[in-house]
């Protein structure tokens, strides 16, 4: 119960409408001119010193993007984005050369301290009940550029490659070329295509056959500059029989304008490999009047390419003005497994349209979806998901559970599942419920001395427990705090 007490304390200590990551770091940065055209695409590519094929790849994506239209099907409303009014490249200024923490702008390091990122090596988090030391290797992406990656040497000993994708393009071009765009094709959707043209950095992970990655890998994304779009691209490859767990965290300063975040994440799991991808998304959600905040239009997809491979997505979504995100699994290999655990919390004027896709293509594939949506304030929270079994996906199994909780009568919770079965041996089960915190539950807690808000936090934590248990320990604690903070001001 210690963690719950912590949550309650947290709720007490935070003012209404407080976003703890809302500071701006004053760092000189290197920016490309505003707007988007072929020259900007070439400029980004040249900045990264990319091979010719990569430049061409980006240009093809850009040309394709010009022919596409913004998707309008999601249940979100926002003014039209002017794509020419954004900066597509912003990098903290620094001299080229080998990267080490010493060379990083001290101002930047202070930013990370504020964020509480264990960037300094040997930052050790204690495990549960005296378990072995847990360490996390971190890749930090500031605006569009990866600034520091820790624990590189130790990872290299295990054969794991963990570096910014721009570096991987220099050091392992064959791997990048082989896998980039194979899960999320350049032509996939409007934002993925835009990302393909202008992505500036992101993380690259390769785990060689049979290797169990010795530590958690982690990336922190932060948007800092005004009017910038952040377009990072993550590519994770787990070779045969390997295992990797990857964490992602996101924050942004408070700004009056909306900022655009359009990332692409590609996961490839070969035979018997397993990837666990966890996200705690806490972009700035806008103020209580709905001004500002991040537009989070992200394409995340995992490909269980090999037999018996497994991909598991866990997400805690508390931030962003608009979330448009569907981490998916393509279950191509026989007996492969996909999992999706999600907590999406919306408050204020936030709009969330999130869910997953489980595409069963191989035989005896299985998937599990647990989604918990919590809507408060004037927000709208939609679960949108697809489960599909191909004719050849004999013995496909899916279990889906979507629960929504409403707090207050001015918010909305919606469920839009698509369940498509094309063969008789597929067995799909889907259940969804929507309810509010019952008065009985509240009364029970309050009778024991908790305030309404404390009682709500306690009940909500119980509601999302199934998902929280899927998170790596250090994230679970953070997520629990986040939930309490996000619901701040929603009761009473």
């Amino acid at each position: 119960m210690a963690a719950v007490q912590e949550t309650v304390d947290k709720v007490r200590s935070v003012e209404v409408d407080a976003y703890k990551y809302g500071f701006v770091t004053d760092i000189e940065s290197d920016m490309a001119p505003k707007g988007l055209n072929e020259d900007i695409v070439r400029f980004i590519s040249a900045k990264k010193d990319e091979p010719e094929w990569m430049t061409q790849w980006r240009l093809d994506a850009y040309k394709r993007w010009l022919t596409m239209q913004e998707p309008v099907w999601a249940r979100v409303n926002y003014p039209k984005i002017d794509f020419q009014d954004l900066y597509y490249y912003a990098a903290p200024k620094r001299s080229p050369g080998p990267k080490s923490l010493d060379e990083v702008d001290p101002e930047l390091l202070r930013t990370y301290e504020k964020l509480g990122i264990p960037l300094r090596e040997r930052e050790i988090l204690a495990g549960v009940e005296g378990a072995a030391e847990r360490r996390v290797a971190v890749d930090a992406v500031f605006d569009s550029v990866s600034v520091a990656t820790t624990f590189k040497a130790e990872l290299a000993k295990a054969g794991v490659i963990f570096c910014p994708i721009s570096e991987a393009l220099q050091t392992h071009p064959e791997l990048v070329r082989k896998y980039l765009g194979t899960v999320v094709p350049v032509t996939d959707n409007y934002y993925a295509t835009l990302n393909s043209a202008v992505f500036s950095d992101g993380s690259f992970v390769y785990v060689p056959p049979g290797v169990r990655c010795p530590m958690e890998l982690s990336t922190y994304f932060r948007i800092n500059e005004k009017n910038t779009g952040q377009f990072e691209r993550t590519l994770i490859i787990a070779d045969k029989g390997s295992y990797v767990s990857y964490l992602e965290g996101c924050t942004a300063p408070k700004r009056d304008e909306n900022q655009l975040h359009a990332a692409v994440v590609e996961l490839v799991a070969l035979e018997d490999a397993e990837i666990k991808y966890s996200t705690v998304q806490n972009w700035y959600p806008g103020d209580s009047e709905g001004r500002g905040g991040i537009y989070n239009f992200v394409t995340k997809r995992g490909d269980c390419r090999g037999d018996r491979s497994k991909i598991s997505w866990t997400q805690v979504e508390t931030g962003s003005a608009i979330t448009w995100k569907y981490p998916s699994c393509i279950l191509r290999g026989d007996e492969s497994r996909g999992e999706f655990y999600s907590i999406a919390i919306s408050n204020g004027h936030q709009q969330v349209d999130s869910g997953t896709k489980m595409l069963h293509l191989g035989k005896n594939t299985s998937s599990r979806i647990i989604s918990k949506g919590i809507a408060a304030g004037r927000s709208d929270n939609t679960y949108r998901g697809q489960v599909f079994a191909h004719r050849k996906a004999k013995g496909a199994r899916n279990f889906t559970n979507c629960d929504s909780l409403l707090i207050g009568d001015t918010c909305g919770a919606h469920t839009v599942p698509y369940i498509e079965s094309r063969n008789a041996s597929a067995v799909f089960e889907h259940e969804a419920t929507t309810s509010k915190i019952s008065d009985d539950q509240l009364f029970y807690c309050m009778q024991r001395g908790l305030s309404g808000e404390e009682a709500t936090a306690l009940i909500v934590n119980g509601f999302v427990r199934d998902v929280l248990q899927q998170l790596p320990m250090e994230f679970a604690v953070e997520a629990q705090k986040l939930i309490a903070v996000s619901l701040e001001g929603s009761v009473g």
């Binding site: 309008v72 099907w73 004719r391 929504s404 409403l406 707090i407 207050g408 009568d409 001015t410 918010c411 909305g412 919770a413 919606h414 469920t415 839009v416 599942p417 698509y418 369940i419 498509e420 079965s421 094309r422 063969n423 008789a424 041996s425 597929a426 067995v427 799909f428 089960e429 889907h430 259940e431 969804a432 419920t433 929507t434 309810s435 509010k436």
Partner: protein
């Protein structure tokens, strides 16, 4: 959801547009109705035939199913039926000749439209579903149908039959729009059946207005020779303390789209929508529901079972909308499908759209094959496999039929279910 008009008009779309141009001057109704028809046609014309890009029609691509639009029959009255049966033949209404129960009034829609009051026009052209291209086309083109009025307090024990048929000549289309007004505290039941000896494209709409404390039960069934393509629309508004139940039994027809737009507009309105679909061959049956709770204390129950064999495809799209302030709504929706063949497909899309916090809403959807253990259990007792399968399917489907209150109809549908299973076994 379909802001972009179709770039190129298909042959069928052009033919349908032409048919409106030819018919519009001769359609019944005064200026007000004519204005509504023109506006409805504009909606259709702007949207074109529903296709995959229209979310509500994603799984039933009418542009593809309706490559050719058959000429729309002009129709004529036929000999009246004995008993309480209204015949809609080629879209034209023939009233029964028998004496009607007290409190029941039947009028051919073409006559009702001639001197229609504003209230009647308003009831016949409700806003629910008006955005749908096929509902709009129906509103623009419907020449006839029946107006059924049940006086307040009247208890009509006899079942009113609505029999949709068509002439046996060349392939054609028929369109009708009927209205059922159930007065306060009244009770009635209606059975709607659809036959078509030749290739027919049917667009039928049935609109219910159920006043406070009234109760109406409705059954939809297909006949052995059902239309090749049938878009059947049901629109209902359910008043305070009123109840509406509708059950569909579908076993024939090539392509059937049943769409229901039901709104609980009075407190404590009770809505129950249920259905059984038995599909085989290349049949395609789509059930699309939009159930809206606009005021507090509403209750809705949906239960749909689909059995698919051969290369059949089934669609269930159910949306429960709880408007702001519709507190204490209790909604439950379930869709279950059994696939008997590897070539069959089932598409489920149960949706919830909720804007009030104090509600209990849930839905469940399952898709699977028959349980091998259950089959084994029966076979171990000497029952051949096909029969064992039949018994399990029958048990599965009868759960829905149990809700039919009228014993005669329940037994008839039960017999049809057994017949379908027997034909499958032979």
């Amino acid at each position: 959801m379909n802001p972009r008009p179709p770039a190129i008009r298909t042959k069928a779309e052009t033919a349908l547009a032409d048919s409106f141009a030819h018919a519009s001057a001769s359609l019944p109704g005064g200026d007000a109705v004519r204005g509504l028809r023109t506006r409805a046609f504009d909606v259709f014309h702007e949207r074109g035939l529903p296709n995959r890009r229209v979310e509500a029609w994603h799984y039933t691509d009418l542009r593809n199913f309706m490559r050719e639009a058959y000429p729309i029959a002009s129709g004529a009255s036929v000999a009246p039926a004995s008993g309480l049966r209204v015949i809609i033949h080629d879209g034209v209404c023939t009233l029964p000749s028998c004496a009607l129960p007290v409190g029941l009034k039947l009028t051919a829609m073409r006559d009702a439209l001639a001197g229609a009051s504003d209230d009647l026009i308003h009831a016949l052209f409700p806003d629910q579903g008006a955005d749908d291209a096929m509902v709009a086309f129906n509103a623009a083109m419907a020449r006839d149908g029946v107006l059924i009025e049940v006086a307040p307090g009247a208890q009509i024990d006899a079942t009113i039959e609505l029999s949709f048929t068509s002439s046996g000549d060349a392939p054609h289309g028929d369109i009708s729009r009927s209205l059922v007004l159930v007065g306060e505290g009244a009770r009635a039941s209606i059975v709607e059946s659809h036959a078509a000896p030749v290739k027919v494209q049917r667009n039928s709409a049935l609109i219910f207005s159920i006043k406070a404390e009234a109760s109406l039960s409705h059954v939809f069934e297909t006949c052995a020779d059902s239309p090749e393509l049938h878009v059947s629309t049901l629109i209902a508004e359910v008043g305070q303390d009123a109840s509406f139940s509708s059950l569909a039994f579908v076993s024939a027809g090539e392509v059937l789209r049943r769409q229901a737009f039901v709104r609980g507009s009075g407190e404590r309105a009770k809505i129950a929508l249920r259905g059984v679909s038995l599909l085989k061959g290349k049949q395609h049956a789509d059930t699309t529901l939009v159930v809206e709770h606009a005021v507090p204390h509403g209750e809705s129950r949906e239960l749909f079972k689909t059995i698919l064999d051969g290369e059949a495809s089934g669609v269930f799209q159910g949306k429960v909308v709880v408007k702001p302030h519709a507190q204490k709504t209790d909604g439950g929706m379930k869709s279950q499908a059994i696939l008997l063949s590897d070539d069959a497909s089932m598409y489920n899309k149960p949706e919830l759209e909720i804007f009030a916090d104090d509600v209990v809403c849930g839905h469940g959807a399952t898709v699977g094959q028959l349980d091998e253990d259950q089959i084994f259990y029966l076979m171990a007792r000497g029952i051949p496999r096909v029969q064992a399968e039949g018994m399990i399917i029958e048990g599965f489907a009868r759960e829905v039929l149990e809700f039919v209150e009228d014993e005669t109809i329940r037994e008839r549908l039960g017999a049809e279910l057994s017949g379908w299973l027997a034909r499958r076994a032979s």
